[in-house]
């Protein structure tokens, strides 16, 4: 029997992995989202509402919340087309903060005092979703569509000129990323069985981005490494007691300085999986 301590960590990793993948698919088009905790919050509240108030099965509630969030993702994605680089990142940051303060004011779902009543889910259920989404992303990474995402990432103008509909690709990525983040939110709500708007603030969004970049933003497997590290590293540093966060900060800076492309990248992954790089 696994100790509850490790079970808790594994659950956190599973949820963070999903959130990380939600940033990964958006970043694959070159768009940096600092607001994915907003989509997570939306998914979290919708799924909780459906299971608690309407007694829907959780899986259905998750799918519905993902669809709703992806709709919002698409709505966010269109104006985002007008913005590039750091300005897009700042706008998504603003979106995330708006969602957070929306739920702070949304008394129907508890407002600032939070919302509860959800049924606790098993670790296996969380990882079923995490593994499923990871598998989907891994398959997608080898598809024609993903090549198109990467083309937009590398050179948006050239991508358009060789025949790719950059609008669809960028907005679609936002919609897909939002759906994934919403799943992370629904699982979070039913793991902790209590949510409050502060769970879905800027720090959560930045955690997702951090995990993507630490793990390696060019391969989906990087999200696994990043999510694992982000949860486990502070635990491994516990022996430093009060100084562990500082040590974490130092390690973070060191990894970025020594391996700016993240721990995993395409060449390393190819080596690890004994593939020639051709496919």
């Amino acid at each position: 029997m696994m100790s509850t301590y490790y079970a808790g960590l594994l659950a956190d990793i599973g949820i963070l992995l999903i959130g990380t993948l939600s940033v990964y698919v958006i970043l694959a088009t070159g768009q940096l989202s600092l607001g994915n905790a907003g989509f997570m919050g939306i998914g979290s509240y919708i799924a909780s509402f459906l299971t608690v108030e309407w007694h829907w099965p959780l899986t259905v509630a998750l799918v519905i919340s993902a669809l709703a969030a992806s709709m919002i993702g698409i709505i966010v994605g269109f104006p985002a087309l007008r913005l590039k680089g750091i300005y897009l990142a700042i706008a998504t940051l603003g979106f995330g903060e708006m969602v957070r303060s929306f739920f702070l004011n949304f008394d129907r779902m508890g407002g600032s005092s939070g919302y509860h009543g959800m049924q606790h889910i098993s670790l296996a259920y969380i990882w079923l979703w995490a593994a499923g989404i990871f598998l989907i992303v891994t398959i997608l990474e080898r598809s024609q569509l993903w090549l198109e995402l990467r083309a937009v990432h590398d050179d948006e103008t050239a991508a358009g000129l060789v025949g790719l509909n950059t609008t669809h690709i960028k907005v679609g990525a936002f919609g897909f990323g939002a759906a994934i983040a919403a799943i992370a939110g629904g699982l979070f709500a039913h793991h902790y069985v209590y949510i409050e708007p502060g769970n879905f603030g800027f720090e959560r969004s930045i955690d997702f981005v951090l995990a993507v970049i630490l793990g390696g933003s060019t391969v989906g497997a990087g999200a696994v490494v990043g999510a694992g590290l982000l949860i486990l590293l502070p635990e491994w540093l516990r022996f430093l007691a009060d100084w562990r966060l500082a040590a974490f900060g130092v390690l973070l800076i060191l990894v970025l300085l020594l391996r700016r492309q993240g721990i995993l990248d395409r060449p390393l992954l190819a080596k690890l999986t004994f593939r020639s790089g051709a496919w």
């Binding site: 090549l147 590398d154 060789v162």
Partner: protein
């Protein structure tokens, strides 16, 4: 009112203008590329040749005038639609995708197979047709040794080939080449010439910007001369070669060649 001409022209520009701030990059440009022909565009640096390509491919929209293919009016279309309508291009400053291997470049521009689920599946087994086309392009351009190399890390001449191969994998009816022999030696240029003649014989129309006079004169059926954004001469290579206006504006400025 402009209608799509059924006159057998792969591309017709009529009265196209394009300004950048105060600079008149194109003024009243009318050009026709008959189907199955190789048409050249020459002119001094800054004449507006690249801008012409940008306006045709939708990178910028023309301020006025019309651009028409054999079937459609494409003047205000977005770039991707124009590309999908059968107009592919290369760039004067090579623009390859920085993260992609040569092989990936030969897949990325291929038209999707409808909206089917196949586009979401691994190409290798969901879309062997696309892989075969990429394979063809690879061997056609002799790029097999570079299959898994990141294209941007390869020698200049190879990069040019990758760019051209990428353009051709989108199955165009008209190919726009912006100074394709720049930086090539004589042998490479000769290879390219043979290759273009071959493509042309298979029915591809070509619009070509080039500084190398021998190359243009020996390859093109027809030549337009641009100077300060305006067409100052047009006609067969022979006619253009002997046009005093051209000698004056272009050859005079560049030194005879």
């Amino acid at each position: 009112m402009v209608t799509a001409a059924k006159n057998g022209a792969a591309l017709t520009l009529s009265g196209v203008h394009k300004n950048f701030g105060g600079i008149r990059a194109l003024s009243d440009v009318s050009i026709t590329v008959p189907e199955g022909r190789i048409v050249g565009v020459i002119g001094p640096n800054g004449a507006g040749k690249t801008t012409l390509f940008n306006v045709i491919t939708g990178a910028f929209h023309a301020d006025s005038g019309s651009i028409v293919t054999a079937e459609q009016i494409i003047t205000r279309w977005p770039p991707h639609r124009i590309a999908r309508a059968g107009i592919a291009r290369t760039f004067q400053n090579i623009r390859l995708f920085s993260s992609m291997t040569v092989w990936e470049h030969l897949l990325v521009a291929q038209p999707r197979q409808g909206a089917s689920l196949r586009n979401l599946m691994p190409i290798r087994w969901a879309n062997p047709e696309a892989a075969r086309r990429a394979e063809d392009a690879l061997s056609f351009f002799g790029l097999e040794p570079y299959r898994t190399a990141i294209a941007r890390t390869l020698p200049y001449g190879i990069q040019r080939k990758v760019e051209m191969a990428r353009a051709l994998t989108s199955d165009p009816k008209l190919l726009l080449l912006d100074e394709p022999v720049a930086g090539m030696n004589y042998d490479e240029a000769e290879d390219l010439r043979a290759l273009l003649v071959g493509l042309n014989q298979r029915g591809l129309s070509i619009l070509l910007i080039e500084h190398d006079m021998t190359f243009v004169m020996s390859l093109c059926h027809e030549i337009y001369v641009l100077d300060f954004g305006a067409v100052i001469a047009e006609g067969s290579p022979n006619k253009v070669r002997n046009d005093p206006v051209v000698l004056d504006a272009y050859l005079g400025a560049e030194g005879a060649c």
